[in-house]
């Protein structure tokens, strides 16, 4: 009687659609802009190189969004991390290792405080993290209003260490150029894998989903809602700190205006990847594709390269809109079935 029907449920269906749309879009880009190098493997790797920090930050964002929360402070945490890291190394002679510790400590502190306010004080996450965003940005400028360039040798060695891959392309001049990545990519991908495993295979991960699905029920089912939420924000904070550090490895500097709007990128990546702001739904894999999709939309626009500033903004959001609407249409089609 109990035939377990192997049917694709709504969410994994959407994830498939998202991945498919990404592949179609990227393939289209490769065909249209073949002469502009879009088809090169390095172009694809660049998506990861440029978005390593964002990917890690978006992982944290995904987790808090699944608890039905949100964290809009990640951008300013990133800026704060970059500034502190740069300031410590350049003005206080800290080593690159100490800098990593600072980055994680900032993330941890943010996670603890915001997590406490959200879970134990029951203050709305948007407001808590909005305050966190204000605070981080303000602190950054209190530390220094100047731009600080990082000249620390070990740090630069990390940042500039190219890892060549056994693939590559020939340049117009006939030179073989091997494809490469930076260590940041490896770290980001590792973190992604760890988070994906945590969300799928640990009690904490599943509790996060349960809380997002229905907080009251989760409580009644005997889950420790408050502690789980605190942990979620803690993890998010640490990931923001880590992401900030990766971001810093990419930009090698600290300044006030850094990473503005990263929070919106992280949120929209997660959403494109199928995470619901109302909680309970979303996967790290989805978010990965969300990041890749956002990255390739920008990449397509840059490659096109004849748009004026305002058309860039409009096109960017038109593509985003197209994507989101398409998803929503697929979702409702699925529901009707």
């Amino acid at each position: 009687m109990n035939k377990p029907k192997k049917k694709l449920n709504g969410n994994s269906f959407l994830l498939m659609i998202t991945i498919l749309l990404f592949i179609i879009m990227y393939a289209a880009g490769m065909i249209i802009f073949a002469d502009k190098g879009f088809a090169k493997p390095q172009m694809f790797l660049n998506l990861f190189i440029s978005n390593a920090g964002l990917l890690v930050i978006a992982m944290g964002q995904t987790i808090v969004m699944i608890t039905a929360g949100i964290d809009i402070s990640v951008g300013s945490v990133t800026a704060l991390v970059c500034m502190v890291v740069a300031n410590q190394m350049e003005n206080h002679g800290a080593s690159a290792f100490t800098a990593v510790a600072f980055a994680l400590a900032i993330g941890l502190a943010y996670g603890l405080i915001q997590g406490f306010l959200v879970s134990y004080m029951e203050i709305q996450p948007f407001i808590v993290t909005l305050a966190g965003m204000f605070f981080g940005r303000g602190m950054t400028s209190i530390i220094s209003t100047d731009m600080i360039a990082i000249k620390n040798e070990m740090f630069l060695a990390w940042a500039n260490y190219k890892i060549y891959l056994p693939i590559g392309t020939y340049s117009k001049r006939g030179k073989f150029i091997p494809a490469y990545i930076y260590p940041t990519v490896i770290i980001a991908v590792l973190i992604f894998i760890v988070i994906a495993l945590i969300m799928k295979y640990t009690k904490f991960g599943r509790s996060v989903y349960a809380i997002g699905g229905n907080e009251q029920s989760a409580l009644m089912m005997g889950l420790n809602v408050k502690r789980t939420k605190l942990k979620a924000y803690l993890l998010d904070g640490v990931l923001a700190g880590m992401g900030g550090f990766l971001f810093c490895l990419n930009s090698c500097s600290g300044f006030v205006e850094q990473a503005k709007g990263i929070e919106m990128d992280a949120i929209s990546s997660a959403v494109i990847g199928g995470t619901l702001l109302s909680g309970g739904v979303g996967t790290p894999v989805g978010t990965l594709f969300g990041v890749l999709i956002k990255g390739s939309i920008s990449s397509l626009i840059t490659t096109q390269g004849t748009l004026s500033s305002w058309w860039v903004r409009i096109t960017l959001s038109a593509l985003l809109c197209f994507f989101i609407v398409l998803q929503s249409i697929f979702a409702s089609l699925k529901k009707k079935k």
Binding site: K40, S50, L156, S253, F255, A259, I301, V312
Partner: protein, 333 residues
């Protein structure tokens, strides 16, 4: 059209390309379109590197984000452009990506802000404004003007640009040094974020705190407009015969119009027309020459009336242009 793959041999690809009717490809990463100045700057690039002039311009708008620019440059490298022109959002953090460009043998020309890199060979040349010099010029003008007018006590407030922007840093430094040197009374500094609305709000607040302000040093024209409104709303007057002198930078069309009637007493230019300068550099490179590492664009200083005909900064003389309708009409931006 970038179909010169066949004719590509050695380093003179682009030159060969342009001779055979093919275009030189230039990738330009612009900060954004945050001000009229920036729009004029983009326009200058676009009109210089047009198809008609034998170029293909790949324009990228970074929307004020450095990370976008880093991505864009990587993209340009993959597109194998002939030159990269970079108007950096920030001065710092370019080592890695410029190294990638260097590895790919693509010359990089920096415009507007300078970059702060560990190795100067990472970029080929720089074209831009000297913001500190702008500040020094403006302050020197004020110094001369005060002498000419017999102003003994100068109570000045500084409406700064967006904190951390090169223009803000340079212009503020110019003022702070001059205030110290000349014994001016620098009452307060507060950022107006280069906008009219904030400029007005900040000025309103300053006027309530200090009633002896006689000079306002606005770090761009928009802030100056706001400040003028705030001053008028407070029942004071601006201009040579008024209560408060308003100084400004950028010399946009709207700004210089206010200089015509003295509302803005002195307006220091910040020239956005970088296109021709960059083209000169590219031409030099195409011909196998070595361009100057640094090239400042020429910038004037405009003032109401002719009380101060010339100023001297660091031993160099600069002529002060008296604003007339003709001057305004003849300006390109």
């Amino acid at each position: 059209g970038n179909k010169d793959a066949g004719s590509s041999e050695g380093g003179s690809t682009a030159a060969a390309g342009s001779e055979s009717g093919d275009n030189i490809t230039v990738g330009f990463s612009q900060v954004g379109a945050e001000s009229d100045w920036r729009t004029a700057n983009s326009e200058s690039m676009k009109s210089t590197f047009s198809e008609d002039n034998g170029y293909t311009l790949i324009f990228d708008d970074a929307q004020q984000k450095q990370e976008n620019q880093i991505t864009a440059i990587r993209n340009f490298i993959q597109q194998e452009v002939d030159y990269i022109v970079l108007a950096p959002v920030t001065e710092t953090g370019w080592d890695t990506v410029l190294q990638e460009a260097k590895d790919a043998d693509i010359p990089v020309i920096i415009v507007d802000r300078m970059v702060d890199v560990s190795d100067d060979s990472l970029y080929t040349a720089w074209v831009g404004s000297n913001f500190e010099l702008e500040g020094q010029k403006a302050c020197e003008w004020l110094n001369q003007y005060a002498k000419a007018k017999g102003l003994t006590e100068i109570n000045i407030v500084d409406i700064q640009g967006t904190i951390g922007a090169s223009a803000q840093i340079g212009r503020t430094k110019g003022l702070e040094d001059a205030a110290k040197a000349n014994g001016w009374n620098l009452l307060a500094s507060q950022t107006g974020e280069f906008t009219q609305a904030k400029g007005q709000e900040v000025m309103e607040s300053m006027l309530k705190q200090y009633d002896n302000i006689n000079v306002v040093y606005c770090e761009n024209d928009n802030e100056a407009f706001g400040a003028i409104d705030a001053i008028k709303a407070a029942g004071k007057t601006v201009g040579p015969d008024g209560d408060i002198l308003v100084m400004s930078f950028d010399t946009t069309n709207a700004g210089i119009t206010d200089t015509l009637d003295g509302s803005i007493i002195c307006n220091t230019e910040c020239n956005p027309l970088h296109g021709p300068r960059v083209e000169e550099i590219i031409k030099t490179l195409e011909e196998g020459g070595t361009p100057d590492k640094q090239a400042y664009v020429e910038e004037g200083i405009f003032a109401y009336g002719s009380d101060v005909p010339t100023i001297t900064v660091d031993g160099e003389d600069y002529e002060v242009t008296e604003v007339t309708q003709d001057v305004i009409d003849q300006r390109a931006y």
